[in-house]
């Protein structure tokens, strides 16, 4: 999968989970910048990403995945 495709898919998941307006954001989202992205929403995001990419994350990875940049890095290793 191309880097761009991965990022687009990730952002699609994040924006839908966080109910964000598509146009207002760049390519990289950071957990700390969104009040909606709390520890509960994180669980939903992880589940959505796992379904989208058909992968499973380890707890250590789940804790690290706090920005779209980190998410790309971890997902790329699994594809």
């Amino acid at each position: 999968m191309l880097e761009k495709e991965i990022i687009d898919k990730i952002n699609k998941v994040l924006k839908s989970a966080l109910k964000l307006n598509n146009n207002t954001l760049g390519d990289y989202l950071i957990k700390d910048k969104f009040i909606e992205w709390d520890s509960l929403k994180h669980i939903t995001i992880i589940a959505d990403l796992e379904s989208e990419f058909d992968v499973l994350f380890e707890p250590e990875e789940i804790v690290e995945m706090n920005s779209s940049e980190k998410i790309v890095e971890i997902i790329r290793k699994k594809l």
Binding site: D38, S39, L40, I43, T44, A47, I62
Partner: protein
Amino acid sequence: MAHNFFIFRNYTIEPLFDKIEGCGFSGYNDIEFPADFKYYVWFYLLPIRVNRATIAAEVDFFRKKLELVASNVTSSSILLCFTMTDPDPFSFVADDPVSEAIDTYNNFIFELANSNRNIKAMDFRSFTSKYSLRELVDSRHFYMSLVPINPKLAGDFSSWFEQKVNAVESIRKKCLVVDLDNTLWGGILGEDGITGITLGNTYPGNCYTDFQSFIREIKNTGVILAICSKNNTADVKQVFSNRDDMVLQFDDFSSTRINWKNKAENIVEIAQELNIGIDSMVFLDDSPFEREHVKTMLPEVVVPDFPKQPYFLVDFIKDVYNNWFQTYELTAEDTAKTEQYQQNTQRQKAIAQHHNMESFLKEMEIKLRISESNPVHIPRIAQMTQKTNQFNLTTKRYTEREIKNMLKKGYIVWDASVSDKFGDNGITALAILKVEGTTALIDSFLLSCRILGRGIETAFLNHILNHLFDEGFRTIVATFIPTEKNMQVESFYDNTGFNCVSADNTRTKVYKLELTEKLRSSELFGITLG
């Protein structure tokens, strides 16, 4: 769904409800009943523990809590009670106490639902039975975040939940209109003849037989049946009278249109004859052409896609029932019972509000083990400052190193392990104080949300204040710093006897309390020092 749901729960289930709008959640195991929700949802999951006897005891205890919650239900609100399931009936002994506890618990829910029209049973098995244990429970999320039901099921769950709520709302269709050829039986009557159409005990006839049996059960719940088919009436009547493998009988149908006219026109006539709206009809037909025609001409009629394979017919008709014909309507006898029940609950409520919460807490046998500046606890203490958002008065985040330094500088750190008769929650309450002369300043005060709603915060605070009083402290200074998430503790110090001495435009508030005597310590909790 524009409804407001307030969910009583014992586990982290927010991810499961992520796709459902307008949900509020109780504290864990908290049964305080907030006003102004249309729907209250009782959703207690089987405790995930090893010891089966403890689980069974806890389930029994849930039943008592539910009884209390149920007594708060008014005629303008609805309580939806999830039944309990055991996704993993793993037991070390043959005689498993949990299964009996679950049966008693579920029977209690069904009895509640039968005797109060504002209480409805939600059979959770109808959701969980579609999944294997591994699909239903993701151990990672359980051990990481106490999320017992796999968050990946959130989408499926919201559809299931919506169906159940619609059923409660009785958004129910009145009439099921069916085609005949390749719908009630296999084959085409006009071509295959009365003996040629397939029904009976072997494939594919057995699919149609079961399909008919299911439709007959739907009729028995009060749904009107009608036939709309392009056939000769005489032939059709012969099928009903001559084929003894027909489950449905001709007089099961309240209205029939067996002719060669177009189906939309026939459906309108059926509606007129039965004196129902066409928006209360569901039409089943195997022909995509006929379905499309009816959908286009009569958009108010529900026309579900029909399965191509006969072996999907029963799954299909179950979905049809779940989507459009589920009901919670009650009989006259139930209604009479409901009135009795409501009188009883009003009586009980007057008593309940004063005593029950307290007696419940006593029954829980809650114990606080309070430690002062225990170096072994530092990692957990630092972790709590990092993770706790809701019940956190100042939301100051500290690392382990910072906590160590603070202890060196003379700060006092109190933590409390909270246990009840079902188990130990570990260190879940924390206070950090800075002391100067006879003044103590509360730098941090926080509780894990796992133990909220039991009055533990006040007992913990009072214990600390009494201890300080004994040590000669006379003035306590405290601060509330608002964040997006801690509004529930905005008035904590106001409610515990502190006086607000200043507030700035960021809504940060500073409080003072002069200690003149020891406070009465709580009788609800056993407090030990350790």
